[in-house]
């Protein structure tokens, strides 16, 4: 059922609109005990309203903060939107956060009600609850294993929802009235940025910010009612919020929730979404798993695969240059039947018309590979502080290696030092409890300083060169972006993580974390026995394997960028000791500190 564009000013109002116009239509789907179950717009709305009533019963008021510490699930959205309906701001917290990081966010935002997923998350909350007086209630979605817990602040989602539902049926209009009185310009959610440097900061976004964004981007991308999406990246991050909330609630698309984070691959195949957001790590993994799998297949399959993936890339290149002819089209048709289609089905992207990559820079070589198998990934760019997106490659007109053109309604310029500045109605309302940081980020004229350095080409496509603060200046005075080098290194299926070093040094070096799955598989094939990650990384054969990979990839880099030396991490990088952020991005500074000895060993000093 297709509806005219609505003019709802807040996200809960969007749900209310669809619940009224199309109450029985499917809004969400959840895989429960092996079966995809539909949740209608009416049920979506009722749950949201019950949460609003439930929070009211707990004494929560407009302007209060609530926290959500859970994997993606419909309850996540109910809690978030139900809270927004009565004016609270939800803060998503990563489940991978250790309890002290959870404590920081809860205390900093002044969270009064914390929704937790299960026993594991509940334990973290109970560990900190007695030290944080502002935290009044903990509500657990799945109480399994917590039957004997009797903390006075802990209650089950089902009883919380029942109470809210009862109150809601006694007064059906209250929540609708609450939604109507909301100011769309008031902060509606707080998104803590992972912060590769320093403590996380809470960016406040208003309904107006995020709905302006979806108003601009839905027609550009072609997202429509009836499109299907899979919600699987953390909802605490603005990128998944765009694809689980902002876009679907604008047009009435269907959001799917799989069984768990471990079943993403199967869920993806079953849903086969029409709109899909991947972060570079996801795309890398997809490609690596196909390439590895191909090694095990028959000679014929392998040959076809190699021929057609190479042809696909060359043909896409010719197509972009406007030189592709009839022969190309015929061969593409054959390749589609034999190779591209099965590959797309395997990845669950057969029906995907809008594959998007964002949240971190993706290597152009990876994009070329995906274009070559008929998956034209659109790379986008943006900050949490501008509701997630400011630049996007338009479908059919993408420029590889560029993050795309500026969205309609967004102003953009580069400062003298090359820093990217944007200004739009999607630029955020400021950092929570941090006016100083807000003033440093948004200037008096309303320009958002992104901290990224980039160049625009003559067609208005933006190319990001790197983080302003992270640029490496070699001893020879060359400016080099470490991210660029790292992305090239990560093209190897054997390299999972890389950290490029070289600021004020004679040459560029890298610390590399092997991909234990791929390298483990490689070692097994050669009957190299190993016990642990540490043991595997220390194997001479593995070191020379990575050496060959680095040599091969150096060809893709400029001379000054070439990695002259490297060391392998003995342990995988981990969030708990500060090496990674909650979004699994490398914290360069702490890695450099923790592994200072290893780094010095490459430059002829230290251990």
């Amino acid at each position: 059922m297709s509806l005219p564009p609505h003019d709802a000013q807040t996200l809960p109002a969007c749900v209310a609109f669809f619940a009224e116009q199309n109450p029985k239509g499917v809004a969400l789907r959840q895989k429960d005990r092996g079966i995809w179950k539909n949740i209608s717009w009416q049920e979506y709305y009722d749950h949201m309203a019950a949460v609003g009533h439930g929070l009211k019963l707990l004494g929560i008021e407009s302007g209060d903060h609530i926290g959500i510490l859970s994997e993606n699930c419909p309850e996540w959205l109910y809690a978030d939107l139900g809270g927004q309906g009565i004016g609270t701001r939800a803060v998503g917290i990563y489940q991978t956060n250790p309890s002290n990081d959870v404590a920081y966010v809860v205390e900093h935002a002044g969270i009064k009600v914390l929704f937790v997923e299960d026993q594991e998350q509940c334990d973290k909350a109970l560990e900190i609850v007695d030290d944080i007086p502002c935290l009044e209630h903990i509500i657990i979605f799945d109480p399994r294993g917590t039957r004997h817990y009797d903390h006075p602040k802990l209650q089950h989602w089902s009883s919380f929802l029942d109470a809210g539902m009862k109150d809601y049926s006694a007064n059906k209009d209250w929540f609708a009235e609450e939604i109507r009185t909301r100011d769309p310009h008031a902060p509606a959610m707080v998104v803590y940025t992972s912060g590769t440097t320093g403590r996380p900061k809470g960016a406040m976004l208003s309904s107006h910010n995020v709905l302006e964004l979806s108003k601009q981007s839905t027609p550009l991308l072609g997202v429509e009612a009836g499109d299907t999406l899979l919600s699987y990246l953390p909802l605490c991050h603005v990128a998944e919020k765009i694809f689980s909330l902002f876009l679907p609630l604008r047009v009435g698309a269907i959001v799917h929730f799989g069984e768990s984070i471990e079943t993403v691959r199967e869920d993806l195949r079953e849903v086969s979404p029409t709109v899909f957001l991947g972060v570079p790590r996801i795309w890398e993994k997809m490609q690596a798993s196909i390439v590895l799998r191909m090694q095990d297949s028959s000679w014929l399959k392998r040959t076809l695969f190699h021929f057609f993936t190479r042809f696909g890339q060359e043909m896409q290149q010719r197509k972009r240059e406007g030189k592709s002819g009839l022969l190309d089209r015929v061969l593409w048709f054959v390749g589609d039947l034999l190779v591209y289609r099965p590959l797309q089905e395997r990845m669950g992207l057969r029906r995907c018309k809008i594959p998007v990559s964002g949240a971190a820079p993706i290597a152009p070589e990876l994009l070329e590979w995906f274009y070559g198998v008929g998956i034209p990934i659109l790379e986008g760019y943006g900050q949490t502080e501008c509701s997630g997106v400011s630049h996007l490659n338009p479908p059919g007109k993408a420029t590889l290696g560029s993050v795309g053109q500026v969205l309609p309604g967004v102003e953009f310029k580069t400062a003298e030092d090359g820093e990217i500045l944007v200004r739009s109605s999607s630029v955020f309302a400021g950092y929570l409890h941090d006016e100083k940081a807000t003033a440093e980020t948004v200037d008096e004229d309303g320009w958002l300083h992104t901290g990224d350095v980039g160049k625009e080409d003559k067609n208005g496509f933006l190319f990001i060169t790197g983080r302003k603060k992270e640029i490496i200046i070699t001893a020879g005075g060359k400016n080099i972006s470490p991210e660029h080098i790292e992305n090239i290194l990560k093209l190897s299926p054997f390299i999972k993580e890389a950290v490029a070093i070289g600021d004020r040094r004679k040459f560029i070096s890298a610390l590399i974390q092997i991909d234990d799955e791929a390298v483990g598989d490689w070692a097994n094939r050669r009957s190299i026995d190993y016990t642990s990650f540490e043991d595997l990384s220390a194997k001479e054969e593995v070191v020379s394997l990575i050496d060959e990979e680095v040599e091969r990839l150096n060809e893709k880099m400029a001379r000054v960028e070439a990695v002259r030396s490297f060391r392998l991490f003995e342990q995988p990088l981990h969030q708990d000791n500060g090496e990674l952020t909650a979004t699994q991005k490398v914290r360069r500074k702490s890695v450099e500190q923790i592994h200072a000895g290893l780094i010095e060993s490459m430059y002829g000093g230290g251990a």
Binding site: R33, E259, E266
Partner: protein
Amino acid sequence: MAFLDIQDIELNFSGIRALDGVSLQAEEGQLVAVIGPNGAGKTSLFNCISGIYQPQKGHIQFAGENLLGQAPHRIAALGVARTFQNLALFDHLTVLENLLLGRHHIYKTSWWQDLFWLESAKKDEIEHREKVEEILEFLDLERYRKMPVGILPYGVLKRIELGRALCMEPKLLLLDEPAAGLNQEATEDMARYLLDVKEELHITQILIEHELRFVMDLADHMTVLEFGRMVTHGLPEEVAAHPEVIRAYTGKGGTDVAATP
């Protein structure tokens, strides 16, 4: 009388006394551990309960029924399920199919109804599938659902083995070393699942282990066997403090061949 009541069992194999005057009681919903070194008679005790061995003396009562002299399939139908130390799964079937097999004895329809795929057969099948899905979710096995069992790691197989037993909707679960051969993390997970079985499903469990550590926090009470005899029984703390147990498990105060597994 206790939910499961075993009194004074004696089991002989042509002159070898495997069990000698063993008694054990479990109330409904309890988790009772039986520990002891290899060859102490733990698995023999299980075989007596499930009707594979016939003890010469003593009696076994379960939920008011006398189990002695009953055939194994009859005992299974009464609600006694067990897991095996050496896994008893079908390698070439998927996880889902293995679990469905656990429900074989509760299939109500006959083969000809299944053959013609009658309405009753369909309904029955859906019910079984739902129960299996419940267990898949309970044990976090969803992602393996359609994989053949043969390619899965050992730790997962132990979980599937437990799942197959749970699919029988048992009233009494006999667990034969569910954590044997598992690494630290998988052992902790298994302990968690057994606690969940107790707290969420309220199924009575008898757990065989040779590791004292694994059962200390799990069991309501435990019995220690050695050479077919009961050394002691009681609360976990009492048992752990018993001099004979300390001797057998820490090797202090004497040499004992049986204590080394």
